[in-house]
């Protein structure tokens, strides 16, 4: 995978900010959640002989309102409807299932197609009204007639009232029967069929809240071992837990932490070490963590330091004070692997996003913006100028727009197609094959 070349620009242009992006297991469907509680699912068009150029375009497949704003009367608090995470379930029948979660509640949605309609009922006529009994003179069997494709989304389960704090992660287990949801202080294990009970598997809430110095920032199940999961913390540590060892996994099986580099210590060292995302590789042998300035790849067998570290925007290190002042230092960037785990991707500011090839150590900075992405145009690599002399196409650090941040990105599970969410726009890029 040399370079992202082809560009297919999908512009959602909604007023609401995209808060999560996720491909399903086959990559045919792409779901986005937004701040208004809506989920939009895109489906990849099948390549047809008649339209060879529309190779793999994604078009809107279904849109539905997943979560509504709620009001907690007991605490006098509004519960935001913003979708924090969407996780697909592997497809087991004709319908598609996904878990969408806001701050407090997880919902299982079923998305199904209907392209046939039954006609010829005995007791109802075509409008649905009951037929007069005396008109029913013979028995007939309803037949299925084709109709326009209709995609319906229906909520099948609602998993509520299990989280006091804000949910930041959810992860479907490899057993496809259970999943976890994590908030700032606790992680709960659910069974997909059971909504009235969940098991608390991690609880880091101290007896006295003023002793609190660390919160959970992300959690994920291992892709193959259904008893293993990891969770990251605001102190830059990752704990791997085995559910076989005890019911409450407060004791970790492995503890991943890189010793601090004393030469780069500052007041903001802890804040920038807070991990915003953790993702297992598809192989299950590695995991990747994203903190404010870098992405680290860890070998699960080595706890004392990561095996690879990639600087995403090191030029921001000297600006940490300003970024703290405007709260940008708290931005939570996500990261993702490509299908073969050879390349990783994460976002940055000014609508830049970066990909890093692990073997070749090549990296590239690209921009997701209307100006630079005409449909089917090749993306030009961007560069941020760190020294005094700015070259022609470079952009200086002070000119970066910190309001344009790419927090959510997703990579197709098998092909080189990436989805990048830039505020309220979704960009889809794919590798151009000559």
């Amino acid at each position: 995978f040399l370079q992202v070349k082809g560009a297919i620009d999908e512009d959602v242009a909604e007023a609401d900010i995209i808060s999560t992006v996720e491909f399903n297991y086959t990559g045919d469907l792409l779901a986005t959640g937004d701040k208004g509680g809506r989920v939009v699912i895109f489906q990849r068009e099948q390549e047809t002989k008649s339209r060879p150029l529309s190779r793999g375009e994604y078009n809107v497949y279904s849109t539905f309102q997943s979560h509504e704003p709620e009001f907690d009367y007991l605490k006098s608090l509004e519960i935001e409807e913003k979708i924090n995470k969407i996780r697909w379930l592997p497809q087991q029948n004709a319908a598609h299932f996904l878990l969408s979660t806001n701050d407090k509640t997880i919902k299982l949605w079923k998305i199904s197609e209907r392209d046939k309609r039954a006609e010829g009922y005995n007791l109802k006529d075509e409008d649905g009204r009951l037929r007069e009994p005396f008109r029913v003179t013979e028995l007939r069997v309803p037949t299925l007639k084709p109709m326009d494709l209709m995609v319906e989304a229906s909520p099948r389960r609602t998993f509520a009232n299990a989280h006091t704090y804000h949910i930041n992660s959810s992860s479907v287990n490899s057993d496809y029967a259970t999943y976890l949801s994590a908030d700032d202080l606790r992680i709960n294990l659910w069974h997909l069929e059971v909504t009235n009970r969940s098991f608390n598997i991690v609880d880091i809430k101290p007896a006295n809240m003023e002793e609190l110095t660390e919160v959970i920032t992300a959690a994920e199940f291992h892709p193959h071992h259904c008893n293993v999961f990891v969770y990251s913390s605001s102190k830059g540590t990752i704990r791997l837990c085995d559910m076989r060892s005890s019911a409450l996994c407060d004791q970790h099986s492995k503890f991943f932490e890189e010793p601090e580099d004393p030469s780069s210590r500052s007041f903001f060292s802890e804040i920038i070490s807070s991990i915003s995302d953790v993702k297992f590789s598809h192989s299950g042998r590695y995991m990747m963590t994203r903190d404010y300035l870098s992405v680290k790849v860890w070998d699960l067998n080595m706890e004392n330091r990561p095996v690879e570290t990639y600087q995403v925007h090191e030029y921001l290190r000297s600006k940490l004070c300003s970024l703290y002042e405007n709260d940008c230092i708290f931005d939570k960037f996500e990261c993702c692997w490509n299908g073969s785990d050879s390349t990783i991707m994460t976002g940055s500011y000014n609508n830049f996003f970066r990909t890093f090839e692990r073997e070749t150590h090549r990296d590239i900075t690209l921009e997701a913006s209307r100006e630079s992405s005409k449909p089917r145009a090749i993306l030009k690599p961007r560069k941020v100028c760190t020294s005094g002399k700015r070259k022609k196409d470079e952009i200086s650090v002070d000119s970066l727009d910190f309001n344009k941040k790419i927090l959510h990105t997703a990579w197709h599970p098998t092909e080189n197609i990436i989805a990048v969410a830039a505020t309220n726009n979704l960009y889809l890029f794919q590798e151009k094959v000559n």
Partner: protein, 222 residues
């Protein structure tokens, strides 16, 4: 917000940082943020914890250096900051949160709100703050540390007549008279599991001493 128009401001700001005590600058920002969060109905726990840790780190640095000139520049004192952080974290603890009940202190919502507790106005009313914090802030802290863990619920409420308290006090029966300045024998006998080492952390409440005396009398049952 950083953008093209603010380019000059950014470089000025960076210069100022080098000139002023950068530590003081960061501290001020932390406290401003904590105060802003405290005003919110639902402060962000993640951010609050990170900022609180940063403040503690700065505190620790200053304590280790114990440079008298540096300390003189401080607008806030250590103890006040600790109390400020503690009260914010306490507020984040929700009442209905069902966790293993190791401590019996009613938390969060019961605490009367003192918006000035974060310490920004301390140059004016330090003493008042200390006093107020002492009664409600520090007591919350001292209540929940080791003291109550070993006591069963029944033991505490058995001989205390709570009918005379009005709802202004958050947890009268659980206020331990542990300020070292009181130095009476009976309270220490009545609460044998009181951890005397924590008593050092209690601020000495000069202004509310008489209130404490009154409460103590009731607790001891005299």
């Amino acid at each position: 917000m950083l953008g093209r128009g603010l380019k000059r401001k950014l470089s000025d700001y960076e210069e100022n940082m080098a000139g002023l005590s950068s530590r003081q600058l960061v501290l001020n920002m932390c406290l401003t943020k904590l105060q802003t969060y405290k005003m919110l109905v639902e402060p962000n726990l993640h951010r609050s914890v990170l900022i609180a840790n940063t403040v503690r780190q700065i505190q620790e640095e200053m304590r280790q250096e114990s440079n008298p000139i540096e300390n003189g520049l401080l607008i806030v004192s250590d103890d006040d900051m600790s109390s400020a952080i503690s009260s914010i974290l306490k507020d984040l603890d929700f009442v209905e949160d069902i966790s293993p009940p190791t401590c019996l202190v009613p938390t969060g919502d019961d605490q009367p709100k003192f918006p000035e507790n974060t310490g920004l106005k301390l140059e004016d009313d330090r003493q008042d703050l200390k006093g107020a914090e002492c009664v409600f802030g520090s007591f919350e802290i001292s209540n929940s540390t080791s003291y109550l863990k070993d006591l069963a619920i029944d033991d505490i409420f058995e001989d205390i007549d709570t009918s005379m308290y009005d709802s202004d006090f958050c947890c009268p029966p659980l206020m331990p008279p542990r300020s070292p300045s009181l130095a009476t024998e009976e309270p220490l006998k009545t609460f044998p599991s009181c951890n005397s080492s924590s008593a050092n952390n209690i601020q000495i409440c000069r202004t509310d001493l008489s209130e404490l005396d009154h409460i103590m009398e009731i607790l001891v049952g005299s």
